[in-house]
């Protein structure tokens, strides 16, 4: 890693959200390519260490706890499902539960039955894998402001980005409005069951949401959202046809790639050409956009290093999965173990905890509590 010594003393600032997401996706990729519980626990640990060191002070920075909870629930559910539906005779039987006979239409589904240690372990490993992926997403969410991520889309996709930001913002408002209406409806008599009750609740909430949306649309419109800029019809036509062409290319390419009987020319080359045209189209669309960004997040060495760590973890994880199969996918009858390489995959993910600057937003609440 380059320049880790100076960057620990770097000025506090928020890391580019795309860097955090790339890092998290790298870790999640590595996790999806193994069932080794030791490796998975190491990956979870790395993600947690980085979150603890570098999470931001915004409300979503505190969301990591929720993801931990979700991960735990996932593991427990996985194991419970194995007990409920996974009865099998083969293996080391821990507890011999009677099987519940099911009618014919449910053929293929078993309810209860003997519980084996193999089934439990398989459920546990599987659950751990899913839990690690969830934890990685949670880490990205609490490290990077999801709204800033949406706002850093290329200019041509700005409208879609804004729509997503608004959708994210509307969500807590909808919850507020639902709570308010629920309390208000308890103040009056009226339908108390079935459709009537649902209607009592839904009509005011939806009316409120609609009114808010209109107010927001009016607010955005009066502030210049969607100004047409100076695009000529010809430019618009070029952009449109480029994007359409790209879409066709990508569709045909993907189809050919997945269908082994299709001519190979149509596969990867077509896909590649489609992507290239798509980039051209986005550039052409972006050029006529006259918007500017206020204080965009810079992209510097710590961002590169963080993305690099994500890529290294993913690639090494893939390499372990292909060359060291017993390490990556240990059997349920033997003790799982780690190779030195797998160990590296597990702990290298913590590097951003030291190489990235302290988030600026984390400081304010600390000062406030001090």
């Amino acid at each position: 890693m380059t320049g880790s010594a100076p960057s620990t003393r770097a000025l506090p600032r928020d890391l580019h959200p795309i860097a955090w997401w790339s890092w998290a996706i790298g870790l999640a990729t590595a996790a999806s390519l193994t069932t080794n519980p030791l490796l998975l626990l190491l990956l979870m640990g790395s993600a947690t260490v980085v979150v603890m060191a570098r999470r931001s002070g915004h409300p979503f920075g505190r969301s990591f706890r929720l993801y931990v909870l979700l991960a735990v629930v996932t593991v427990v559910l996985r194991v419970v499902f194995r007990i409920l539906f996974g009865g099998q005779e083969i293996g080391n039987v821990l507890l011999d539960l009677p099987e519940v006979p099911l009618p014919d239409w449910a053929a293929g589904v078993r309810l209860l039955g003997p519980i084996t240690s193999e089934a439990l372990l398989a459920g546990l490993y599987d659950g751990l894998r899913l839990a690690t992926i969830i934890l990685c997403v949670g880490a990205a969410n609490s490290l990077a402001n999801p709204k800033r991520l949406l706002a850093s889309v290329p200019p041509a996709l700005y409208e879609i980005g804004t729509a997503l930001v608004v959708a994210v913002t509307i969500f807590p408002q909808l919850a507020d409005s639902a709570r308010r209406v629920h309390a208000a409806q308890a103040l009056r008599g009226g339908a108390t069951s079935g459709v009537g009750r649902l209607r009592r609740f839904l009509v005011p909430v939806l009316e409120d949401a609609l009114e808010r949306s209109l107010a927001l649309a009016a607010g955005m419109d009066t502030r210049g959202y969607g100004r047409s800029g100076g695009a000529s019809p010809r430019e618009r036509w070029v952009t449109g046809s480029l994007l359409l062409l790209a879409l066709t290319g990508i569709c045909v390419g993907t189809y050919a790639w997945l269908d082994p009987t299709a001519p190979r020319v149509l596969a990867l080359p077509m896909l590649g050409a489609g992507v290239v045209v798509a980039v051209l189209g986005l550039v052409s669309a972006g050029r006529r956009v006259q918007r500017t960004r206020y204080r965009p997040d810079p992209w510097r060495t710590p961002e590169l290093a963080t993305v690099g760590v994500g890529i290294v973890v993913a690639v090494l994880g893939w390499y372990v999965g292909h060359t060291q199969v017993p390490v990556a996918y240990p059997g349920v009858d033997v003790m799982p173990y780690l190779s030195p390489l797998a160990l590296v995959v597990g702990i290298i993910g913590t590097v951003p905890a030291f190489t990235t600057p302290v988030p600026a937003s984390a400081l304010a609440p600390r000062e406030a509590t001090a």
């Binding site: 807590p172 208000a184 005011p204 009016a218 607010g219 955005m220 009066t222 959202y225 800029g229 500017t292």
Partner: protein, 535 residues
């Protein structure tokens, strides 16, 4: 003075309803024009014509021309006027696009493609201009109402518009926050030469700052003139002007200072006798009520007694715990400690249906209570839900607000009518105690007078009424007792003559002019009449 905006022969109509007819209005540079008029006469429509939201967001047919610096902009959609006309709607929170103060200030400039260095500079300048620099990184939703309003104004100022259009900027604010916002607006007019067009119900707050008043008369007409000339016979007027008209002061006083000078000429009037507190039986008594939201103490150790036939007014800053207290008294809001006794029961331990028969509550947004398509359906549902005789709710409604068409959709009713409907629905369950949270929102002077009559009648029927409001003048009209909350604690309580007159921010205009026991113009009128009869 150069004219910035010119509305020429503007006409606007929905199908058969004509809102504006042959309206002309010229706004000069650096002028603050107040748009006044009764609710629903088309004040917002007039503002919308300027911003371009009318007819694009409302439907209807617009005729005439809008000129900005001599160039017609009537065909341009709002987004193409964004750098010329800045608009702040009634609810600033609903118009926010981003989530922090700084990003919100920059949003408009991003849309216009302002250079990054300019954006940075203007954001800092605007933060200082509006005195919100310490809020820069705050989440918009965590701000108080007055702060939100100032951020909303700042967010349109950053694009340096020629005209600022504000729709009821102080309607949701407590008196102090309203003064802050108005001081900010005046500063913009004086220092930057900004032209401001502002619609407002509470004229007592804005009239002293207005250069001219545009009165929307209701038959599609518009009267634009000096405030004194318009207010001399306007159907909407602040208490100060009412007082001036009553005492026939010339020229009409527009500020409390003017009025004080005139007041020396008044004959010696017998101050109103402090009302004798009648023997009353307490209906609701709360002792040591404490409400906690997370780590925030919303209501701290409050004692309150509501008695039959008495109207208690709850006042205090935004966020001082008024709503939390009201919901706790109703029983739905969780209290941390304290006792509550209504008719021998604690509402918190009752079911929702039983609670309704003990304590009635009309929440801040009365529309949350309504969910059916017609007034008749709403009334029928209320009767059914309260096991009341069919027609109970309707007859209550007819007493509160006579003449509402049963086939109307509740959302088509005026603000005041909708409030009356919600009130009738709540009263159908025959609760002896009635709680109203901010009932004066969106009501004009006539609407408030009507509400004051309704509240007094309900009290006269033997109910105990508690209402929370920011509206000092309304409180002065209805209150038998005033309770002021701050940080969740009761800081003063007692008769309105004492509590309202004591506080500089809660004193009604008549008190500011004539001193302590006087509260409302009607008292002065009665005293003048008695004087005349005695002389």
């Amino acid at each position: 003075m150069r004219s910035v905006i010119e509305l020429r022969d503007i006409g606007f109509r929905y199908d058969e309803h004509e809102v504006l007819r042959h309206v002309d209005l010229t706004l000069d540079e650096g002028e603050l024009v107040l748009v006044a008029g009764r609710t629903g006469v088309g004040k917002s429509t007039l503002l919308g014509v300027l911003t371009g939201l009318v007819p694009r967001f409302t439907g209807g047919v617009l005729s005439g021309d809008v000129l900005l610096d001599g160039a017609s902009i009537v065909e341009q959609p709002p987004r193409e006027r964004a750098h010329l006309v800045g608009y702040v709607g009634q609810d600033p929170l609903a118009g926010f696009v981003t989530d922090t103060v700084e990003e919100e200030l920059a949003y408009g400039m991003e849309q216009l493609g302002t250079a990054p260095e300019t954006m940075r500079r203007r954001v800092e300048e605007t933060l200082d201009l509006l005195g919100i620099a310490d809020l820069r990184a705050r989440d918009l939703r965590s701000l108080s109402g007055g702060q939100q309003q100032r951020v909303a104004i700042g967010s349109v100022l950053t694009t340096h518009p020629r005209v600022l259009v504000l729709d009821e900027p102080t309607s949701a604010l407590d008196p102090t926050a309203a003064e802050d916002v108005l001081a900010t607006i005046t500063r913009l007019v004086h220092d930057l030469g900004l032209t401001v067009l502002l619609a407002e119900h509470r004229l007592e707050r804005v009239v002293p700052f207005a250069d001219r008043i545009a009165l929307v008369t209701g038959e599609g007409g518009l009267r634009v003139d000096e405030p004194r000339a318009v207010l001399a016979d306007s159907p909407v007027a602040p208490p100060l002007v009412d007082l001036g008209r009553l005492a026939q002061w010339e020229p009409l006083p527009l500020t409390v200072r003017d009025a004080r000078r005139h007041a020396r000429s008044l004959p010696d009037l017998r101050a109103p006798e402090p009302a004798v507190v009648p023997e009353t039986t307490p209906l609701l008594s709360a002792r040591g009520v404490t409400v906690v939201h997370g780590t925030h103490v919303a209501v701290r150790d409050v004692d309150l007694t509501l008695s039959t036939g008495r109207v208690t007014v709850l006042m205090g800053r935004n966020g001082s715990g008024k709503s939390s207290l009201i919901w706790a008294l109703q029983g739905t809001g969780k209290r941390r400690s304290g006792t509550l006794d209504v008719d021998g029961d604690d509402p918190a331990t009752l079911t929702a249906a039983q609670r309704r028969t003990h304590v009635g509550l009309v929440p801040q947004t009365a529309a949350d209570l309504l969910y059916l398509e017609t007034v008749a359906d709403e009334c029928a549902a209320a009767d059914g839900g309260a096991d009341a005789q069919a027609g109970t709710c309707r007859s209550l409604l007819d007493r509160l607000a006579p003449g509402i068409d049963a086939a109307h959709h509740p959302r088509d009713l005026s603000e005041g009518q909708r409030l009356a409907l919600a009130l009738a629905i709540v009263l159908t369950a025959r609760p002896p105690v009635l709680l109203l949270d901010e009932p004066t929102r969106g009501l004009d002077y006539a609407g408030k007078a009507e509400l004051a009559r309704i509240v007094s009648e309900l009290a006269a029927d033997g109910r105990a009424v508690l209402l929370a409001t920011h509206d000092v003048e309304f409180a002065a009209h209805v209150a038998d007792e005033v309770v002021v909350l701050a940080e969740g604690e009761v800081v003063s309580s007692g008769s309105p003559q004492r509590v309202l007159a004591e506080s500089p921010s809660f004193a009604p205009q008549v008190t500011k002019v004539l001193g302590a026991p006087w509260l409302v113009v009607e008292e002065v009128a009665a005293a003048l009449a008695a004087n005349g009869a005695g002389a």
